[in-house]
C-alpha cells in the first residue's frame, strides 16, 4: 500500500500534526509497517515538524514534493523497539543484496524501515558492484549532509559511507571495501615497517599480528562492526565478497529474492539467531 500526501505550501502546523499523528499510528502497529510505504514531503522539513528538533515557524515548502519516508521512520522507530521484540542483543545486522536486485531501491528502503522498526542499531548494506552506494547512498547523503568521499589514511577518522539517524547507523559498502581494503591495510603496514627499519639493505621480516592488521584496517578506514547476523537477498546463499575481517563468526541466513521479502521472516530470523 502506498499513501501519498500532497500538502499545499506553506505547510501549516495543524496539517503537519495531523499527518504526524497518522504516521505514528501507522508506525506503532507492526502490521502497518509491513504494508507501509509512503511518500511524503521533503525530509528535512518533516524532521523539524516531527518534534525531533525544536519546531520552528511555518516552513515554506514547494508543492508536489516527494521523498521516501523510510528515513523518517528510522528516526521515530528506533527507540525501545528492540526491547519489545526481544532483540536487545542483536547489535548489528548486515544485508547482502545481489547487485541486480539492489537496483530496486523501493524494496531496499522498505527493508531499512522494517529493520529500524525492530530496533536494529547498526545496519550494514552490501552489494558487489556498489549499486547501493550510488542509489541509497546518494539519498542518505543528501538527507544527512554526510560526505561519501572515500577516506584516506590521513583523514581516516571520517567514515567513508556511514550515515547516522538518531540512534541508528547505516553503513553502505561494496566489494572495494573487502579485499582492496585488506590490500590498503597491508600497504599501510608495509609503509610503517619500512619507516621502522633503518637500513634499506637489511630488511627484517615483518612481525605483524592479527591485531596489527585489524588496527591497520581501522587506520585506512576499512574496519567496522562485525555484524551478528547477515541476511542474504538473492538467488543463492553466498556472501558475495563481504569483507572477510568482518565475517568471522557472523550467522549467515539466506532470505530468498528481494522481491519476495517479508517482515515476518526477518523478525523470525532475528529472534532465532539472537
Amino acid at each position: 500500500m502506498r499513501a501519498e500526501f500532497r500538502v499545499a505550501a506553506p505547510i501549516r502546523r495543524t496539517s503537519l500534526s495531523a499527518c504526524r499523528s497518522l504516521l505514528r499510528t501507522l508506525f506503532r502497529n507492526p502490521s502497518f509497517v509491513i504494508i507501509y510505504s509512503a511518500i511524503i514531503s521533503d525530509g528535512f522539513g518533516w524532521r523539524y515538524h516531527l518534534g525531533l528538533d525544536p519546531p520552528s515557524t511555518e516552513i515554506p515548502v514547494p508543492r508536489d514534493f516527494e521523498v521516501d519516508t523510510g528515513f523518517l521512520l528510522v528516526f521515530a522507530a528506533s527507540d525501545g523497539q528492540s526491547h519489545a521484540y526481544g532483540l536487545d542483543k542483536l547489535n548489528s545486522l548486515a544485508v547482502v543484496v545481489d547487485s541486480e536486485e539492489a537496483k530496486n531501491t523501493t524494496k531496499i528502503k522498505q527493508l531499512l524501515c522494517w529493520l529500524s522498526s525492530i530496533g536494529i542499531k547498526y545496519i550494514i548494506l552490501y552489494d558487489m558492484q556498489g549499486v547501493l552506494k550510488q542509489t541509497i547512498g546518494i539519498d542518505l547523503e543528501s538527507l544527512t549532509n554526510t560526505s561519501m568521499t572515500p577516506c584516506s589514511v590521513i583523514d581516516a577518522k571520517t567514515a567513508s559511507s556511514l550515515f547516522h539517524f538518531g540512534k541508528m547507523a547505516i553503513e553502505i559498502i561494496s566489494l572495494s571495501d573487502g579485499k582492496e581494503g585488506v590490500a590498503k591495510a597491508a600497504s599501510f603496514l608495509y609503509s610503517e615497517h619500512m619507516k621502522d627499519d633503518s637500513e634499506i639493505c637489511h630488511r627484517s621480516e615483518p612481525d605483524f599480528t592479527e591485531s596489527d592488521v585489524a588496527n591497520a584496517l581501522k587506520a585506512t578506514g576499512s574496519a567496522g562492526d562485525e555484524p551478528d547476523l547477515l541476511l542474504v537477498y538473492g538467488p543463492a546463499r553466498c556472501h558475495l565478497g563481504f569483507p572477510a575481517w568482518r565475517l568471522r563468526y557472523t550467522e549467515i541466513v539466506h532470505m530468498g529474492r528481494l522481491r519476495s521479502m517479508n517482515f515476518a521472516a526477518i523478525l523470525y530470523v532475528c529472534q532465532v539467531i539472537r
Binding site: A185, S187, P206, F208, H239, L240, R248
Partner: protein, 286 residues
C-alpha cells in the same frame, strides 16, 4: 581401510554398490560438477553425546566419514576437497581434549599414509594449511611427512586446515607479501639520491596477498558445506568464498552420507548459472 580379508559375498555387494554409484554419478555429471568442495566438519562431539559414547569417539567416526566422502568425491571427479579439521580457536578447549585431538590427528595422518588407504589408492596429494608451528611437534612432523610423501601425486587434492583461521592466513599472507616487497624496494630514486616510494596504497595489491595465501595453488571452493545446521563460517576461507555456494545441512558430520553429498551437488547445480554469471562479471571488471 579394512585389514582383514573380505568374504566373497561382501566383495560382490561392494562391486554392485560401486557399479550403482558409477551410474548415479554419471547421471549427476550431466549437470555442472563442482571442482572444489570445502567441508566444515561440525558435530562430532554432539554425535558422541547423543549416543552416550565416550567424548572423543565422535571424531573417530568423523574420520571414517571423511574417507568415505573423499572416495565419493574422487569417483565423481571433484578434484579438490578441503576440510576444516582444527581451528586456532579450538586451542581454547580443555587441554585434555586438545591433546586427545592432537593424538587422534597424528594417528589418522599415519593411517592415511598406509598402503591400503584411499590416499595411496587414488593418488591423493595432501596439503596442510594453517599455522603448523602452533601444533605439537609429533603432529607437525607427521603432517610435513605426509605433504612430502604425496607431493608428486597427480590425483585429487585433499587439503586439511589445522591450526587455521582465515584471518590468521590473511595476516601471514600480508607478512609474506611485505617480506617479498622488502627484498625488492618499490618506487624510484629522486634527485638527491634518496629512495622515494610509490603511492602508499599500491605497495601491496590484492594479487600480492592472494599469491601468498595457503590456498594459492587451489581454485576457490564452489561449495562450502557446514554440517549440523550451523550458519556461521567460523573464520574458514573467508577470502576465498566470495562466490561459493554456502550450504548448512542438518546432519552432524559423522552422519553426513552420500545422499547428503548428492543433494548438495544438486543444490549447487540449480544455482550454478547465477554463480557463473557473477564470476564472469567479476573477471570482466578486474
Amino acid at each position: 581401510m579394512e585389514k582383514h580379508d573380505r568374504k566373497p559375498e561382501s566383495n560382490i555387494f561392494a562391486s554392485v554398490w560401486r557399479f550403482l554409484r558409477r551410474c548415479l554419478f554419471l547421471v549427476l555429471s550431466l549437470g555442472p560438477m563442482p571442482n572444489h568442495i570445502a567441508f566444515i566438519m561440525d558435530g562430532n562431539r554432539r554425535y558422541a553425546k547423543r549416543r552416550n559414547a565416550e567424548e572423543g569417539s565422535g571424531h573417530g567416526v568423523g574420520f571414517t566419514t571423511l574417507t568415505s566422502i573423499c572416495q565419493y568425491c574422487y569417483e565423481m571427479g571433484v578434484k579438490y576437497v578441503t576440510v576444516y579439521a582444527f581451528s586456532i580457536d579450538n586451542f581454547k578447549r580443555k587441554p585434555e581434549e586438545v591433546q586427545s585431538l592432537m593424538d587422534l590427528m597424528k594417528e589418522k595422518i599415519d593411517e592415511l599414509l598406509e598402503e591400503e588407504s584411499i590416499v595411496q589408492k587414488y593418488g591423493f596429494r595432501i596439503n596442510f594449511w594453517g599455522s603448523l608451528d602452533l601444533l605439537s611437534e609429533p603432529v607437525r612432523l607427521v603432517a610435513e611427512k605426509a605433504m612430502t610423501h604425496t607431493a608428486n601425486n597427480t590425483g585429487p587434492v585433499l587439503s586439511v586446515c589445522m591450526a587455521y583461521t582465515s584471518t590468521n592466513e590473511i595476516m601471514r599472507a600480508i607478512k609474506k607479501s611485505c617480506a617479498r616487497k622488502s627484498s625488492r624496494p618499490q618506487g624510484y630514486v629522486n634527485c638527491d639520491g634518496e629512495s622515494v616510494c610509490a603511492d602508499i596504497n599500491s605497495y601491496v595489491t590484492v594479487a600480492d596477498v592472494e599469491e601468498n595465501l595457503d590456498t594459492a595453488d587451489c581454485p576457490d571452493p564452489d561449495i562450502v558445506i557446514r554440517t549440523s545446521g550451523e550458519t556461521r563460517l567460523s573464520n574458514f576461507l573467508l577470502w576465498q568464498t566470495s562466490l561459493s555456494h554456502l550450504q548448512n545441512p542438518s546432519p552432524l558430520w559423522p552422519e553426513f552420507s552420500l545422499r547428503n553429498l548428492i543433494w548438495a551437488i544438486l543444490e549447487y547445480q540449480k544455482i550454478y548459472p547465477y554463480l557463473e554469471a557473477r564470476r564472469r562479471l567479476t573477471k570482466k571488471e578486474n
